[in-house]
Symmetry: C2
Subunit: 382 residues, 2 copies
């Protein structure tokens, strides 16, 4: 597909500014038909391009789109219609990927990165609505696993401060590779999704705890992606230790939780989905529910050895597991196929599980927002 | 002053990565002598420059510094020694100001902007130390003044959740022009400054409420700086209505505050300092203490008419005002002179006040961190 060379003038057509545009910016402009016009002033540049993070992200099929210079030095491009969702992107100035000055940045791809929000007409499950809102608390805690103070974000449901006698179940919710503990509330809108479900009585009021999925042992130097299998294993082990030994006890001490396995769920997306399955299924005394969105698990599962043999005895697994829930978007082929593969292994093995597919969405936050919206009503309810 | 063309290799010299560099970045590199080396890979660019926000920010005296291309396409520049503090900056690629891919962005200058943190050796008053930490809560509330839901940040001191019978005084703390409600905790580290003071018993445990200083009335379109005097007056009026009619009642209802004027202080920096003086001094029934850091008040004060005539009757002012506290950095001439001018008017008029000057720092966050550190111990204590 090729971009159009003459974008419409925003004021002349139906549409809206991207909700993630900064306060006074007119672009990115989302047309009524889903096309998106980007504009950047770069009078002295020789080339300006729009760069999506890759094919799996779903923006412009991962193609780098050339932008066209206007007489005033403003470069523009209009993409083909974009599936509603959230997309990281860069504006490439003479070969250098940079952030779009018109847009808020979000921590993804290992750095502050421009993000495009394309609203889904008629869909408001993740919007800030006129309902009671919980708080998102930033909490600092010292972790023995890393030997450092760390930051986590904690969603407390509406009314948490008004009912000091009430205790709540806890969902531990992890971001994807290159993101951090801010992802689920800024890009993912997890707090608004829960506010809306809780207001309608469709989800149990719950605490949601979001941690940085990267944990280094004392003195360890951060590795640079792509990681070797050994580095991935170390990342997984140190995250497991951080979560089970440091985070869960801290949360049970600092917040009014129901401190038992049945009232704890572990969920994550992509890299975080792999972490949720690996840590959750091998620590059943801590987590009775495990949830994975677009899990980055591409090797076929051996039911006898996968996840420390957790799947080997289906009867025992089904008896101790409150919920095993998996999802993917139909627009992210690798992850969709990985889910299909896992489904068949789990079914053959007699492992009770549920799955969900987000129609048309790719490896981006709309898939994960919809996944959270669909799984939250199933959590902590029998 | 001119930059050096051959930066030292970071690994070969004393120094450290900028604390605001992203996780795996090696630059910006802060040398032991305070020089800072920036590096950006831009093989196809014709010119790359380092751009500070202006002379008043204190970085490289506001000069645009050309970066020099290395054989590998990496452009570098080493600045002369930088006064410890926090500096917004851009990397200009062929004329386009962009963010430094090595650095976290911060909402300043009206957009997500690169920020350089230059640590002050031997100074840790604003660092995350091994002390009890409060929470920074993100709260959404509906404001009648704007007809919208808004986000504010609320610092609750250590132990807030452990002592449900205790009530706390409240400091309302405002950011500067082009920033937002996130500024005081991300750039300003207000939460760590308070944690450290409270741990040593040097400040009253207090709640700190941080709001976006830009408030539009329903249907109003955001103006683009520079503002006309009329636009400035409208911004001030709508912020006053937002704070006094919407925010203060919401905070007194949602948190365990001491809901009286003597237990409320209003503070702000630069534009927020002007807001603090204008709103605080004209609403003595709401705020008994008023604090202004680097206040953007450049016209000489007429003691009879300034701030709605609040200064006209010194005896009455001194009787009702618990604290009037003003500060500036000696490295920000315009604001330092404005403070000198205000001091002389206040003294001539017999208005009780206190002032502080941050030695050597410019119009940047180190001036405001030091100001908060110096004024907090005086708040809510007689």
């Amino acid at each position: 597909m090729t971009p159009e060379s003459t974008p419409d003038t925003p004021r002349a057509v139906d549409g809206q500014r991207s909700p993630s545009a900064v306060r006074t910016a007119e672009y990115p402009w989302i047309h009524a038909d889903g096309r998106v016009t980007f504009a950047v002033s770069a009078p002295s540049a020789r080339t300006v391009e729009l760069k999506p993070p890759g094919q799996e992200s779903g923006l412009a099929a991962g193609q780098v789109l050339p932008m066209i210079r206007g007489e005033d030095g403003t470069w523009t491009v209009t993409t083909p219609p974009v599936v509603p969702g959230f997309y990281y992107y860069w504006v490439v100035i003479d070969g250098v990927p940079t952030n779009d000055p018109n847009t808020e940045t979000f921590f993804g791809c290992g750095a502050a990165t421009s993000g495009l929000e394309v609203p889904d007409p008629g869909t408001d499950f993740h919007d800030l609505l006129d309902v009671p809102h919980g708080e998102v608390r930033t909490r600092w805690f010292h972790a023995a696993t890393t030997g450092t103070w760390r930051r986590c974000l904690v969603y407390t449901p509406p009314g948490y401060d008004d009912d000091p006698g009430r205790r709540y179940p806890v969902l531990y919710l992890q971001h994807g590779a290159g993101e951090d503990e801010r992802g689920w509330t800024t890009q993912g809108r997890a707090n608004f999704i829960l506010d809306n479900l809780i207001d309608r009585g469709e989800a149990e009021p719950m605490i949601v705890v979001m941690n940085n999925g990267y944990a280094l042992e004392p003195g360890e130097v951060p590795a640079t992606p792509p990681y070797t299998p050994e580095q991935n294993a170390r990342l997984l082990d140190s995250f497991r230790d951080l979560l089970v030994r440091d985070v869960v006890p801290m949360v049970d001490a600092a917040y009014r939780t129901v401190p038992d396995r049945r009232s704890r769920a572990l969920a994550g997306l992509s890299m975080g989905g792999r972490q949720a399955l690996s840590v959750g299924l091998t620590n059943p005394d801590t987590f009775a529910s495990v949830v994975a969105f677009s899990a980055a698990v591409f090797d076929p599962l051996d039911p006898e050895t996968a996840f420390g043999g957790a799947l080997a005895d289906a009867e025992a697994f089904n008896a101790r597991t409150r919920l095993l829930w998996l999802s993917a978007g139909t627009g992210e082929q690798r992850f969709d196929e990985a889910l299909t593969s896992m489904e068949s292994v789990l079914s053959k093995q007699g492992i009770r599980h549920q799955t969900y597919r987000s129609q048309g969405t790719a490896h981006e936050w709309q898939t994960w927002r919809r996944s959270l919206y669909n799984v939250a009503p199933l959590l902590f309810r029998d």
